[in-house]
């Protein structure tokens, strides 16, 4: 009997959640794939973890799937599959509150909630993750990864990444 089948449904789900909560995003390791909303949960029959890509062309997508696979295997959950779904499309609203706090602590301004439909443009007021000032300006619309823009605080002068609304 497989490890997965030996556990009750509820226990299995809890175990998967625990395992995945420890899988960091390869590009922003301060947050987990669960915090970012990349992991949507487990499907109805408990056989597959449902994941969704953030950006269509995000190069981390393959690395993320691989990291989830390795984590499941190491936890003795090798018989749990990974299923990728596109719909409904991922938005930054799917980042958890805990994830937003972790981003801020890491020096990345999190995206505001309810930004759906604004097509990567957020509101103009962005809070500096270092000092909290709202006197900030955009330096570059494109940052170190596809999901971030480069900003600078005009009070503490620190440059910082801003997670784009998506």
């Amino acid at each position: 009997m497989s490890a997965g089948a030996a556990l009750s449904q509820a226990a299995l789900r809890a175990r998967i959640d625990t395992v995945l909560a420890e899988v960091p995003d390869p590009e922003i390791p301060a947050v987990s794939v669960v915090d970012l909303g990349i992991v949507r949960g487990v499907d109805a029959d408990g056989r597959n973890v449902i994941v969704t890509p953030t950006y269509t062309g995000c190069p981390a997508t393959i690395a993320i799937e691989l990291a989830i696979r390795v984590a499941l295997d190491e936890a003795g959950l090798a018989d749990i599959g990974i299923k990728t779904v596109l719909s409904p499309p991922w938005t930054t609203d799917m980042i958890s509150d805990a994830g937003r706090d972790k981003l801020r602590a890491y020096g990345i301004a999190p995206p505001p909630k309810g930004a759906e439909g604004r097509s990567l443009h957020g509101p103009d007021i962005v809070e500096c993750p270092q000092c909290g000032s709202t006197l900030t300006k955009e330096v570059s619309r494109f940052g170190s990864t596809p999901c971030k823009a480069l900003w600078q605080c005009l009070d503490c002068h620190e440059p910082f990444d801003r997670f784009k609304c998506h």
Binding site: P53, Y55, T56, G57, C58, P59, L86, S87, P88, P89, W90, G117, S119, L120, H121, V139, S140, R141, F142, G143, P146, H166
Partner: protein
């Protein structure tokens, strides 16, 4: 009809694939770091779209070809991209003229395809449309900035657009079989998208103090696999590694 659907998915995937490859040619030599990052990021989004459309095309074809196989092991005449996207980058002005025309076209198209009765097409379009909106905005901003910029940047934008007017009909081309699929709600009726495209282009050109679109002889037809020599050169570079090591995995 599955042949028509296959070819239509190739059109969607090939447009994104070929333009993505073109944009990545700028990597490391764009006018500024910001532009370098932005063109590569746009290219990445397009590669993501290409992967999704070509993988689906392979499933519809049912001959065991996946997106990689279709991207790397087809010859030029089997590509269905528009002639516009395969044109060389030229200078930054020309690249932005091409990007503005393509992203404006693609935005109108994807806004329709999110309503496709084919759920796979609808979900890919819904995933990509937000990114395309961003591309269209950025390209329009550059067209305005350069057109309404210095004498030199203005002239370069005029020259850039001059080259591309001949490829617009080709981008919007549809055959009768595709029109039938559009009537079923699977594809978008591209002719119906043209007025909105024309007026958006006219508005941005006016704001950029650039001359309006010129009625010129239209060339075709990339949608039927008839391409300029530029595609062959692009494919030679893009496919060389995969063809030299066809069984390689990594």
């Amino acid at each position: 009809m599955s042949d028509t659907l296959f070819h239509s998915l190739l059109e969607l995937g090939d447009d994104s694939l070929i333009l993505g490859q073109r944009l990545c040619e700028w990597c490391g030599k764009a006018p500024s770091v910001e532009v370098d990052l932005s063109l590569s990021n746009l290219g990445l989004d397009l590669m993501g779209q290409a992967t999704l459309f070509l993988n689906y095309a392979g499933e519809v074809e049912g001959k065991g070809r996946d997106g990689d196989r279709l991207a790397f092991h087809r010859d030029g005449e089997q590509f269905r991209n528009s002639l516009l996207v395969e044109q060389p980058n030229g200078d930054f002005g020309q690249t932005m003229a091409r990007q503005f025309l393509f992203s404006t076209y693609q935005l109108g198209l994807f806004e329709q395809l999110v309503k496709s009765t084919d759920p796979r097409i609808a979900e890919i379009a819904a995933k990509a449309v937000k990114e395309v909106r961003y591309h269209a905005d950025i390209a329009a901003e550059w067209v305005i900035r350069l057109g309404d910029g210095t004498e030199d940047s203005h002239e370069r934008m005029v020259d850039g657009f001059d080259w591309f007017w001949r490829f617009i009909d080709d981008m919007f081309a549809m055959d009768d079989d595709q029109r039938a699929l559009a009537e079923q709600g699977i594809l978008a009726d591209k002719a119906a998208l043209r007025p909105a495209f024309d007026s958006r282009v006219a508005a941005v050109l006016a704001e950029a103090t650039l001359p309006a679109a010129q009625p010129v002889w239209q060339v075709g037809s990339g949608r039927q696999g008839k391409h300029s020599e530029h595609l062959s050169h692009l494919l030679a570079e893009m496919q060389q590694l995969a063809r030299a090591h066809p069984e390689a995995t990594w």
